[in-house]
């Protein structure tokens, strides 16, 4: 830091005045890089040829002035000051070959690059804003026409819809989920019920075909169902010991008789 103090004395009156002017405006700067860029303009050279060493001196003088005027500087200004002091020492001292990291020249070059890049972006921004702008220099259509959305409805139906629709009209009935069609089935329960009522009269051997329900002999499907259930019911009754069964020959009629005595 002794370097910085020494530099404070080195600076000219003009520099100090300039630095003071900057300090008054410290709120107007957008951080240390912005301040450095402003300071660099006093060198009146191309940013590529700027003396980073001089710039570091100017910046440090600025910070000293601020301190002297008891102006609070934001932390990042002080960080930059410390770094520039370090950079200055590196630039002034002969390079130490044992030292690692970038050389003072490299650091200075990067700072110069940063300043140049920031300036370039500012120039670019100015050029951009100077362009003709929509709604200021050139204009879009004033009388716009909305694109009207037309909804077109496409109706569809499947063949099954058609079938079901037709069946509905023919049956005046809603379709139910598929269930077994029981119209043509004579269940064993039905056969049992029927035969229990009849066997009381079967003292003699009688063909079980005579126990078939009335009206079921017209439709062969119904006939088959009734035959099967009547036969099954006969077996059940025999098992219960209520009837006896006999068959004289293969495919001969099966005969049934009430079992006596129980």
């Amino acid at each position: 830091m002794s370097d910085a103090t020494a530099d404070g004395f080195d600076t000219t009156v003009a520099d100090r005045l300039a630095a003071e002017a900057l300090i008054v405006d410290v709120d107007g700067f957008e951080g240390p890089l912005d301040l450095l860029l402003t300071l660099s303009r006093t060198q009146k050279v191309d940013l590529r040829k700027i003396s980073v060493l001089d710039l570091a001196r100017q910046y440090l003088a600025f910070v000293e002035q601020a301190k002297a005027l008891r102006i609070e500087l934001a932390a990042d200004y002080l960080v930059m000051a410390a770094w520039l002091a370090f950079l200055k020492s590196r630039l002034l001292l002969p390079p130490d070959p044992t030292e690692e990291g970038p050389s003072g020249e490299e650091l200075a070059a990067h700072l110069a690059f940063q300043l140049e890049r920031l300036q370039a972006m500012r120039d670019a921004a100015a050029k951009l804003m100077a362009r003709d702008q929509l709604g200021r220099d050139f204009f879009a259509r004033g009388l716009t026409q909305e694109v009207e959305r037309v909804r077109k409805i496409h109706y569809t139906a499947t063949l099954l819809d058609l079938m079901q629709g037709y069946a509905r009209t023919r049956t005046k009935d809603e379709f139910r989920p598929f269930v077994m069609d029981r119209d043509k089935v004579f269940t064993m329960e039905q056969a049992l019920e029927r035969m229990r009522g009849l066997i009381g009269f079967a003292g003699m051997w009688t063909d079980i075909a005579t126990y078939m329900p009335e009206g079921w002999d017209v439709d062969p499907v119904r006939w088959r169902s009734a035959t099967a259930s009547t036969f099954a019911a006969s077996l059940e009754l025999a098992k219960e010991g209520k009837v006896e069964l006999r068959q004289s020959d293969t495919f001969a009629p099966i005969e049934l008789r009430r079992r006596e005595g129980r």
């Binding site: 204009f139 879009a140 259509r141 004033g142 009388l143 026409q145 909305e146 694109v147 009207e148 959305r149 037309v150 909804r151 077109k152 409805i153 496409h154 109706y155 569809t156 139906a157 499947t158 063949l159 099954l160 819809d161 058609l162 079938m163 079901q164 629709g165 037709y166 069946a167 509905r168 009209t169 023919r170 049956t171 005046k172 009935d173 379709f175 139910r176 989920p177 598929f178 269930v179 069609d181």
Partner: protein, 221 residues
């Protein structure tokens, strides 16, 4: 070149710009203004000495037959889409909807009983058929008018169209499966009143196996 002409206008403060320039100016104003602009307004906005009315004549001619035209709206002027291109300002969105139950039933009856009169449809459905339903089916081109019945009043009949057959993947209306086949295929259960089966279904009883094959094809895609 644009810039030069612009400079010309500026240089001669009071001389009106050339007519070509005035036309450009009117064009830009009509384009950018939200409302139609009167000749007076145009003249107020154009450089002193301009003749908006004349510029409009040229501009109007320039836009003749173009995609947009310079048109007079009341006593003002505007650039508007050419009338024949109005369709471009519409965006069609297609929505697919299931046909209503009434329409499906009506359609089914026509398909199974064609040619069929409205009275016959109503008799089968047990309810009157709304004009809208028939119109919808006609508009979809699924049904069309058949020949008139040779009965008193000579009522018109309806038949299904090729479009209908194409939609349902049928070669002819005769290929429509009968209710018997549908039941046999286990697809539905119903108790049709005896003798109510339509002709078309009955003819296929012998060809049961074949029909079922056809049906599964029909119902599985």
């Amino acid at each position: 070149m644009q810039i030069e002409t612009h400079k010309d206008t500026e240089r001669s403060l009071f001389a009106a710009p050339p007519m070509g320039e005035q036309e450009r100016m009117v064009e830009a104003i009509l384009f950018a203004t939200a409302d139609a602009v009167t000749v007076k307004e145009l003249n107020d906005r154009l450089p002193h000495g301009s003749d908006a009315a004349e510029a409009l004549v040229h501009l109007r001619k320039r836009y003749e037959g173009r995609g947009v035209n310079v048109v007079k709206v009341g006593d003002a002027w505007a650039i508007r889409t050419a009338p024949d291109l109005g369709f471009l300002m519409q965006k069609e969105t297609v929505e697919t909807r299931k046909l209503s139950r009434a329409a499906i039933e009506t359609l089914a009856i026509i398909a199974y009983h064609q040619p069929v009169t409205r009275a016959e449809i109503e008799e089968i459905r047990g309810v009157s058929v709304s004009r809208g339903t028939v119109d919808q089916l006609l508009e979809m081109e699924w049904i069309r008018f058949g020949r008139r019945k040779m009965t008193p009043g000579r009522p018109v009949t309806f038949v299904v169209t090729q479009t209908f057959l194409d939609h349902f993947g049928l070669e002819s209306a005769r290929d429509l499966p009968g209710l018997k086949e549908l039941r046999a295929a286990g697809l539905l259960e119903n108790r049709p009143p005896f003798g109510a089966m339509p002709q078309m279904g009955e003819g296929d009883v012998d060809a049961e196996e074949e029909t079922q094959e056809g049906q599964s094809e029909l119902f599985e895609d």
